[in-house]
């Protein structure tokens, strides 16, 4: 699509375009290029300032920070909690998002599908603090019963070993809230890649007598696979960095456990920062900033990989769109 809709409006700056020598043009080019470079500078600044303020926290001795631990043993449970909650959220959200995208693209009339797509996008407009409020005051209470049931019936699995939390504010609840929060972006990207499926292939499959599901399975899903992977990774990036919902929903105690429903839960990096930052002072602040740097590196890597996958897809499908 990008090939056809942008008939190279932008020649490069060295050519003798209209009036390229004029002062006004050179000034304007300078300003706009300066803005682009500023953005790069901001991104570099994020890395530089976090590193500069974080290094004292990494090298601080255990008795100088509030946690009383060296930096690796302070950050490791948090990294585990961050990855664990985000993975759980992804496991819940991705199948749901793909199904929702299929539903609005292939199972309802086109106009209705668009309207329903807007409704799903509405979820993305809800501020994260409202998600937190809802997860903590509404969802957690609703899940106490199911958690007790899970402990009784599936207690032999390490995930549901219990004892089940009496408040419902567990890592699984946090993961459900995270899943709801990343659902819109994963759905939006899945819809986008499904929309790019060549309609001729779809019609050919149907003409050969395929049922709707067989058409989706043989044409749509293989065509959209890398796009869906990229969308899932973008969702992962969001879930890794989400702060308020986890901070408000989870009652964390900083342990490493696979138990999903007990009242002792691993915390996550962003939630830990949000909860500790305002009471912290001295090198504890630096340690928190250093944990933020770790989070930045993780999310940057995930987003980098996701964008690479999604962009490759875009160029690839653009060739025969």
């Amino acid at each position: 699509m990008s090939e056809t809709s942008t008939p190279s409006p932008s020649r490069d700056t060295t050519d003798t375009g209209p009036a390229s020598g004029r002062v006004g043009d050179r000034v304007f080019l300078g300003i706009s290029r300066g803005a682009a470079l500023t953005i790069l500078a901001i991104l570099a600044g994020v890395a530089i300032f976090l590193t500069a303020e974080g290094i004292p926290g990494i090298t601080a001795s255990p008795d100088e920070v509030k946690s009383g631990e060296s930096f690796p043993s302070f950050v490791l449970p948090l990294v585990f909690g961050t990855l664990w909650s985000a993975t759980l959220a992804l496991v819940i959200a991705v199948p749901l998002a793909v199904a929702v995208a299929l539903f609005v693209t292939y199972y309802v009339p086109r106009r209705l599908g668009q309207a329903l797509g807007y409704v799903i996008d509405l979820l993305a407009a809800v501020p994260s603090v409202v998600f937190g409020l809802w997860g903590m005051r509404v969802l957690a209470g609703q899940l106490v019963g199911p958690y007790e049931w899970l402990e009784r019936t599936l207690g032999f699995l390490p995930f549901f070993a219990g004892p089940a939390s009496a408040t419902g504010r567990t890592i699984l609840t946090a993961a459900v809230v995270l899943a709801v929060m990343i659902l819109p972006i994963v759905t939006a990207i899945a819809r986008e890649v499904f929309r790019q499926t060549p309609v001729l292939l779809e019609e050919a499959a149907l003409a050969l007598g395929a049922t709707r599901w067989e058409m989706i399975r043989t044409v749509v899903l293989p065509h959209g696979r890398s796009g869906m992977i990229g969308g899932a990774m973008l969702g992962l990036g969001r879930a890794l960095g989400e702060t308020m919902a986890v901070a408000m929903v989870l009652s964390a105690s900083g342990v490493i456990t696979l138990d999903l429903i007990s009242s002792t839960n691993p915390s996550t990096i962003p939630a830990n920062i949000a909860l500790q930052f305002n009471e912290a002072s001295g090198l504890t602040v630096n340690a928190l900033i250093a944990s933020g740097l770790v989070l930045f590196v993780i999310t940057f890597a995930v987003n980098f990989a996701a964008r690479a996958v999604v962009n490759r897809r875009k160029e690839f499908s653009g060739a025969h769109a």
């Binding site: 008939p7 190279s8 700056t13 375009g17 043009d25 080019l29 706009s32 290029r33 682009a36 953005i39 901001i42 994020v46 300032f49 976090l50 500069a52 303020e53 749901l96 199904a99 539903f103 693209t105 199972y107 309802v108 009339p109 086109r110 509405l122 979820l123 809800v126 501020p127 994260s128 603090v129 409202v130 937190g132 409020l133 809802w134 903590m136 509404v138 019963g145 659902l183 779809e202 049922t211 709707r212 599901w213 969001r238 890794l240 960095g241 989400e242 308020m244 408000m248 920062i273 949000a274 305002n278 002072s281 001295g282 928190l288 933020g292 989070l295 930045f296 999310t299 995930v302 964008r307």
Partner: protein, 369 residues
């Protein structure tokens, strides 16, 4: 592209042929079918079963719903398998799964909207909007200071990020082309959209610590954090809008001898103005609900503070957060205020989204999208 035809206009198969001897003789290519609308009948039956279990037998809501769903999800495919064969049965099963997934995804949205409106609406009063929390213990007080803090900080963020983002988009579309710098910027802007909001907050804090010393809290730091989050959104949306401007318009201007920068200012920007406004509005809507960066850079206070450069300010999201997390004694009034602030915040975000859509609808050039 917009005229693509979608299959999927009917949930039910064509009407069943008569099952007389002739049709049976032709079996193999005249497979018997379930009657038209079988899916809807099954769904209705599932609803009946679920409500009967819940209301009639007094079972809890969740098991009744699951049983009702099982009636639909297992019953219809089994029936279909017996009558129509395996392929149709799988198709029906998937249809049910996919539709259920959509309903399931709607549950949290409806639940959130419902609880926020139910708990927030009783709180809204003229006092709630015109009082700050200064010297308020227990009942009373309001969000006056928080609304102003949110408006000021978001406005400051917009003042910084809109020119930056717009100029970058102009560079990418009008000058950069497929050059190396443009490619790098485009990719990194994409990656930048994924920066966690708390990291943006930490960055702003680390930046201001250098100038103001440890423990710094001020509105402008929050605005810087929001700028980091908002700029990539502005760049992406503006870039898309500028690319929609037909190249013929630019060429017409060049042919008249208009310099390139005048072409951009007088032709390209006015043409895409509606789209640009929409993009900026959506970007504002996205950052106005950000809590984490403001929590660690701006903090919270009970009094009104209209100065971005002088100490803590209250903002709506942080006000909501701190009202619920440290409600004080007695907790009820504070929790009620948290719901009220959450409702106001959501209304602001919804209105901004609506405005953005209306701008696109009324002011975009006709015949586009």
């Amino acid at each position: 592209m917009s005229t693509r035809n979608r299959s999927g206009d009917t949930l039910a198969p064509p009407p069943a042929p008569q099952r007389d001897e002739a049709a049976l003789a032709l079996r193999g290519w005249h497979q018997p079918r379930l009657p038209r609308g079988a899916g809807w009948y099954a769904a209705a039956l599932a609803v009946v079963v679920a409500s009967a279990l819940q209301a009639g037998l007094g079972l809890p809501l969740l098991p009744s719903l699951l049983t009702g769903w099982a009636v639909l999800g297992i019953g219809l495919p089994s029936l279909s398998r017996a009558v129509e064969g395996r392929r149709k049965a799988v198709d029906r099963l998937v249809s049910i799964m996919v539709s259920s997934a959509f309903v399931l995804a709607m549950v949290p949205l409806v639940s959130i909207l419902w609880t926020v409106v139910k708990n927030g609406l009783p709180v809204l009063s003229s006092e709630f909007f015109t009082y700050s929390m200064r010297n308020v213990v227990g009942e009373g007080g309001g969000i006056y200071h928080a609304v102003w803090g949110t408006v000021l900080i978001t406005a400051a963020a917009a003042v910084m990020s809109v020119p930056l983002g717009l100029l970058t988009a102009i560079f990418l579309v009008e000058y950069g082309g497929d050059g190396r710098l443009a490619k790098v910027v485009r990719f990194l802007v994409d990656v930048m959209t994924g920066i966690p909001s708390i990291v943006a907050g930490l960055f702003a804090y680390a930046l201001f610590v250098v100038f103001f010393g440890p423990g710094v809290r001020m509105g402008i730091a929050g605005a810087v954090a929001l700028t980091v989050l908002m700029t990539p959104v502005v760049v992406r949306s503006s870039e898309e809008m500028l690319q929609l401007v037909p190249h013929e318009l630019r060429e017409a201007a060049y042919a008249l001898g208009v310099p390139r920068w005048r072409t951009i200012v007088k032709v390209v920007l006015p043409t895409s103005m509606a789209g640009l406004v929409t993009g900026v509005t959506l970007a504002v809507a996205r950052v106005i609900g950000e809590t984490a960066p403001l929590l660690i850079t701006v903090g919270i206070t009970d009094s009104s503070n209209f100065t971005l450069f002088d100490g803590r300010m209250a903002t709506l999201p942080v006000f909501t957060y701190s009202s619920i997390m440290s409600p004080g004694v007695p907790p009820e009034p504070s929790i009620a205020r948290a719901w009220g602030a959450a409702l106001v915040l959501m209304l602001i975000v919804m209105v901004l989204n609506l405005v953005a859509r209306l701008v696109t609808y009324f002011f975009s050039p006709k015949g586009k999208r």
